[in-house]
């Protein structure tokens, strides 16, 4: 089946769409460092297009797809053996929807009840900085959560590509410069707004009136908001329940894998070789932490090849890309379905992203390491 690759690519593309939108949004905020007026002027090019027509639907679709595929990824897991990065990525991703729901609903309401009001950055900023600071805190939190989620995702995808050698030095600073500049712009324009609020009472009254109207409408929508959050919580719970059910179902079917160098790993039926390694603290390279992208976890199957799940397209593609030899598998994809599997780790446990970018440079290494450990 083509499923693994397809799901992975769709999730990636939807995530990139979302990240592009967030980048535009934050870049718009960063212009606030110059002035509020400039920020307003750039809104038409940077942010506004996303709220209309096809782009709007693309954004909504990307969000829905990314969210559901994220939950699908949780449900499709076989264990909760996660690297620190994965834990961060998963929890940040899970936090995003409930945090954003309020923001989206409030803005949608504002657009509905107070036409033209929300189209002005100055007015929104005034709300955040003076009338409803709670939303400002929420926004700051969302920026941290969303941007870190996006940064981790983008980094762990790009770092495996050969192109990273050329663009890595540029991407990493940009990845952090964008939110920092945006927040500085946010602070700067906020100060500007506060100054105007104290010097321009008419503007202040206008905003106050609009805020009152929006607040009233939002209160009515509170029900909708909590319902959305409940629905989301239920979806998350279902995803985790599927995962828990899978763990529980197989918990009494122990399997063992033997490694080169005499190490052994014990675990449940259906776990991948890599998950068994990580559960048992067996040193095992895994740059992409089990997504089947990097190929650093590949092993040579010395015995029990028929006791492993059949390779899928995703695995075959990656194996072909890293020019793996016959009898080699990706440890993160090969699930152990029986007793008696024996493998040799082909890359040293300290293999890093360069091993994924230039697989051939690392090919000679494992055999040397293997003979070394054998002698």
């Amino acid at each position: 089946m083509r499923g693994g690759s397809l799901v992975r690519n769709v999730r990636l593309v939807s995530g990139l769409v979302l990240l592009t939108f967030v980048t535009c949004h934050l870049a718009n905020l960063a212009i606030g460092l110059h002035s509020l007026a400039e920020m307003e002027a750039w809104r038409a090019t940077l942010t506004a297009p996303w709220t209309r027509g096809a782009a709007k639907w693309l954004l909504v679709a990307a969000a829905a797809i990314h969210l559901s595929l994220g939950l699908y990824a949780v449900a499709a897991r076989r264990s909760l053996v996660l690297s620190a990065t994965d834990v961060a990525q998963l929890s940040l991703g899970l936090l995003t929807p409930p945090l954003l729901i309020a923001h989206v609903i409030a803005l949608a309401t504002a657009i509905a009840v107070a036409p033209g009001f929300a189209d002005n950055y100055g007015q929104i900023q005034a709300v955040y900085w003076s009338f409803a600071p709670f939303y400002a805190f929420l926004q700051l939190f969302v920026v941290v959560v969303v941007w870190m989620h996006g940064a981790i995702g983008l980094y762990s995808w790009l770092v495996l590509k050969p192109v990273w050698r050329r663009i890595g030095g540029l991407v990493l600073p940009v990845l952090f410069a964008v939110p920092i500049l945006a927040l500085l712009g946010f602070a700067q324009s906020g100060q500007e707004v506060l100054d105007r609020l104290s010097s321009d009472p008419a503007w202040r009254d206008m905003i106050l009136e609009n805020v009152g109207r929006i607040a009233q409408a939002t209160r009515e929508l509170g029900e909708l908001q909590s319902r959305a959050i409940y629905a989301y919580a239920a979806a998350v719970a279902v995803a985790f329940a599927i995962l828990a059910a899978r763990i529980l179902r197989h918990r009494l079917k122990p399997v063992t894998v033997a490694y080169d160098g005499g190490a052994r790993a014990h675990g449940r039926y259906g776990l991948s070789i890599l998950e068994l390694s990580r559960l048992n603290d067996v040193p095992h390279a895994h740059v992409c932490s089990g997504r089947g992208r990097c190929g650093t976890c590949r092993v040579r199957i010395d015995a029990g090849a028929d006791l492993l799940s059949a390779p899928e397209d995703l695995e075959r593609d990656t194996l072909a890309r890293v020019q793996a030899g016959p009898g080699e598998r990706l440890a993160c994809q090969a699930q152990v379905l029986g007793e008696g599997v024996q493998v040799t780790r082909l890359l040293p446990a300290y293999a890093d992203a360069s091993a994924a970018r230039a697989p051939l440079e690392w090919v000679a290494e494992p055999t040397a390491a293997a003979t070394e450990s054998a002698t």
Partner: protein, 614 residues
């Protein structure tokens, strides 16, 4: 004494009352300070502070992320390297610590450095700095705990902890550190807040420290209790008093002192930590010299090193404790030496004496264990074997040990007197005068000692050798002291010969001996046949695996003298010292047999018949 106790009790009472008041007022103040915080936060100023804080966070994370793009692979390699020995684990652990602490320090430096660039709302900057420092302390604790206890990686553990308890111990320690950090860093912030919630801060302080003490108290029993923990540590010692009790007692005592008098608490806590470390230090040090194949009952010792390291570690821990206590008391260390208080000066001098004693102890342990190990390696002297090079060591090493001990004690006494401020110059001068007087009295003694030094330096004899001195003293050297040598006569008596009276030494145990014996045969035997027979016997003996190695030169014989009616043949051979008697007996036995085969017999010397030519 009574007044002092009363004063102490009064302070304690005041403190307890203050704590009770804190607890009583805390809920109300908590509410008011929460309201004040809410009011400050929910304003333009609050938003600005929060925005800057998030920016700082991004900057810190960016710097650390950049660091880890370089450092992550080395870290992975470090974690993947198997540690063959505990010492290797220590080295890897230190590298691991360095890598992770560098990242943390970069994060902290980036956050603190950039925080100065922002225009913070009033008082927020202090808050940010305190929060950063608290984060630093917590992350540092976590890094140290994960390196030292290494949950999940038993090979990498740097302290003796049962594998099953490692994760729990790490979690408990981290929780304790969190409580201590929260109890130390948060109350000042609350106190300086708008609401001036002194009582709330006090109550928080109390609650956090109480929680930490309770955790440590429970932890002492959970992690150091009972024989199970000791069996896991594979200790060679018989079960002792469980260490959980003294540890729990130390925790309780520190907490009690803190409850009654906060100023004395730091010193008490430091001393409690020092004592706790001293209790566990032996096991911790020997942990690095454990061998995995050692049997549970067997002491796995790595020679002198662990003992030296242990005494050094004890010394360092004690000194660090004293230093920390001095810092906690705000004692100006530099002016301490000129302090007017006689107690302080006496204390400092006693400390100096203790340092000297520890140093002397370390040197003594080092020399003694080296000497003992060497002696045990050589083994007892075998009087039936020829003395070799190791017998010289056997002679000199015990002497060296005693000499070192005497020298160390003398040096220690003299330098302790000096450290105590007692002038030793007149003492030495006095000793010089006394020495001359004694020297005249003990001229013989001095002569003996000096003669002994030269005997030993010239390697005149070693333990196990058979020597003859002047004055008919002879025997095997059994024992050597500074003044005399004990000789075991071959008949049993033990001679104690002062070196001075030893005179010319005749050492019969060196290199080789030549033994000669006579064979009286009847006058009519043919000399050449006998000579050939003796030579043949000699060759046979040389070929005999039992006797051959004892013969350095083959047996030879020749006609030596002709007496009336008797031809005397003299036989000669060379053998290692002490073997000549066996060899001679064997040679005689073989010659007798050979004579019988030739149908000859020894000359019967009792009646010599002289035939007249007529």
């Amino acid at each position: 004494m009574a007044g002092w106790s009363l004063e102490l009790l009064a302070t304690a009472k005041l403190r307890l009352e203050a704590l009770t008041l804190d607890l009583a007022r805390a809920p109300e103040e908590a509410r008011s300070s929460a309201e004040a915080a809410h009011a400050t936060l929910m304003s333009g100023m609050g938003v600005r502070g929060a925005t800057y804080l998030v920016i700082l966070l991004f900057i810190g994370v960016a710097v650390e992320w950049l660091y880890w793009t370089y450092a992550y692979s080395p870290l992975r390699a470090l974690l993947a390297t198997p540690a063959q020995t505990p010492l290797q684990a220590l080295r890897l652990g230190l590298k691991h610590l360095l890598l992770r602490v560098s990242g943390l320090l970069l994060f902290t430096a980036a956050v603190l450095g950039t925080s100065a660039a922002f225009n913070w709302p009033p008082r927020v900057h202090e808050l940010v700095v305190v929060a950063t420092v608290m984060l630093l302390v917590l992350r540092l604790s976590w890094i140290s705990i994960s390196v030292v206890i290494a949950p999940g990686r038993p090979q990498r553990r740097l302290v003796p902890v049962a594998p099953r308890k490692a994760r729990w111990l790490a979690a408990a320690l981290l929780a304790t550190m969190f409580l201590l950090a929260a109890g130390s860093f948060l109350p000042p912030i609350i106190e300086s807040g708008h609401a001036h919630a002194l009582h709330f801060a006090g109550a928080l302080h109390l609650a956090a420290y109480t929680g930490a003490a309770a955790l440590l108290f429970v932890g002492a029993f959970a992690f150091f209790g009972g024989p199970a923990a000791r069996a896991g540590a594979r200790s060679a010692h018989a079960p002792l008093f469980p260490r959980s009790f003294p540890l729990a007692l130390l925790v309780a005592a520190s907490y009690g002192v803190w409850l009654l008098n906060e100023r004395a608490a730091a010193v008490t806590a430091i001393f409690a930590i020092v004592i706790a470390l001293q209790i566990g230090l032996r096991e911790m040090v020997y942990f690095y010299w454990r061998s995995d194949d050692a049997q549970p009952g067997q002491d796995a010792d790595g020679g002198a090193l662990p003992a030296i390291v242990l005494s050094l570690a004890r010394f360092v821990v004690a000194l660090a404790g004293i230093g920390a206590a001095a810092l906690a008391l705000d004692t100006p260390l530099s002016s301490l030496a000129e302090s007017a208080s006689p107690w302080v000066r006496i204390g400092l001098r006693l400390l100096g004496v203790a340092v000297l004693a520890l140093l002397a102890h370390g040197v003594w342990i080092a020399i003694r264990s080296v000497v003992d190990q060497r002696l045990a390696h050589i083994g007892p002297v075998n009087p039936h074997e020829p003395p070799d090079a190791s017998s010289r060591l056997l002679t000199l090493l015990p002497l060296l040990r005693v000499t070192t001990a005497v020298l160390l004690v003398v040096l220690l006494v003299l330098s302790s007197l000096w450290a105590l401020g007692i002038e030793i110059t007149p003492l030495l001068a006095g000793a010089g005068v006394l020495g001359i007087a004694l020297g005249f009295g003990a001229q013989a003694l001095v002569r003996d000692v000096i003669a002994g030094v030269f005997f030993l330096a010239e390697d005149a004899f070693r333990v196990g050798e058979y020597i003859e001195g002047s004055g008919n003293t002879k025997g095997n050297v059994e024992r050597i002291t500074l003044r005399s040598v004990a000789l075991r006569h071959h008949n049993g008596p033990l001679h104690f010969v002062p070196y001075g009276a030893l005179g010319t030494v005749r050492n019969t145990s060196r290199d080789w001996v030549i033994d000669k014996f006579n064979l009286p045969l009847p006058i009519e035997v043919e000399s050449e046949a006998i000579r050939k027979m003796i030579k043949k016997v000699g060759e046979d003996m040389k070929a005999d695996p039992a006797i051959g190695p004892m013969m350095l030169e083959a047996l030879k014989g020749k006609l030596y003298r002709i007496d009336p009616g008797v031809k005397v043949f003299r036989c000669k051979f060379r053998s290692p010292p002490g073997k000549q008697f066996d060899v001679r007996a064997n040679a005689l036995k073989r010659i007798e047999a050979a004579l019988k085969k030739m149908d000859l017999h020894f000359a019967d010397g009792t009646h010599i018949l002289v035939k007249s030519p007529a």
